[in-house]
Symmetry: C2
Subunit: 135 residues, 2 copies
């Protein structure tokens, strides 16, 4: 059986001119669909190649979105069987990992600035820190 036609049609619109990265637009809209109950736990998502083809995107771009959605437990990939909406998709769609990161970084940056550390110095130090997986 090739699709059988009962894969949820994704009402997804990708705007090339939108400053928001394509993979991010994808994530946004899938989470939105989950939050508004247009898709729910167990529902199958189009395959990466399929969706890439439909939206005229590169498969790597879609794969990136799927990878992040899976990390956040919004979707679940079951190897060759395809990708499905995660049981806890709804609650996990509200949790914004990036927001937490932003908050923590803002606090730290504020502290640095108040201590007289230059923005330039903060950036340099950050760059170094990111390149020192060893400590």
């Amino acid at each position: 059986m090739v699709h059988m036609g009962h894969i949820k049609i994704m009402e997804i619109t990708i705007d090339i001119d939108d400053p928001v990265p394509l993979f991010a637009q994808l994530i946004e809209q899938i989470k939105k669909a989950v939050l508004s109950d247009k898709i729910g736990p167990g529902d199958a998502l189009p395959s990466i190649r399929q969706l890439a083809n439909d939206l005229e995107l590169n498969s790597k771009t879609v794969a990136k979105a799927y990878r992040l959605l899976e990390r956040d437990s919004v979707i679940q990939t079951k190897g060759y069987r395809g990708t499905f909406i995660h049981p806890d998709a709804k609650s996990n769609s509200t949790v914004d990992l990036n927001e937490w990161v932003m908050t923590k970084l803002n606090e730290m940056i504020t502290t640095f600035r108040e201590s007289g550390v230059t923005d330039s110095e903060i950036r340099i130090a950050f760059g170094n820190a990111m390149n020192n997986r060893g400590n």
Copy 2:
């Protein structure tokens, strides 16, 4: 009196090919001179323009080094009267503000990574945080 010749001669060598930024080389060497007692509290430093001329550097580059040294209380600028070594220069030369920044950032970055946050996401969030002075 034009200099009177008793301004400490700075034994400073700037290496253009050194990957270390010129202004940073300057800071290093001045702190080093302080730590090895080659110059001490009260001693006058060459004026920004003077040093820039001697080392064949742009005055902005020297100004940047002086600005950072003053922030760290290694030197003290007295407006039109010139720049002098700070009373607590020696102890302040060992305190490395950047090291503290690096340590804090490393801790936070490690936490983020352990939480599954992508390096790319961390960088993006950091960039946003730096551009949100207001919150």
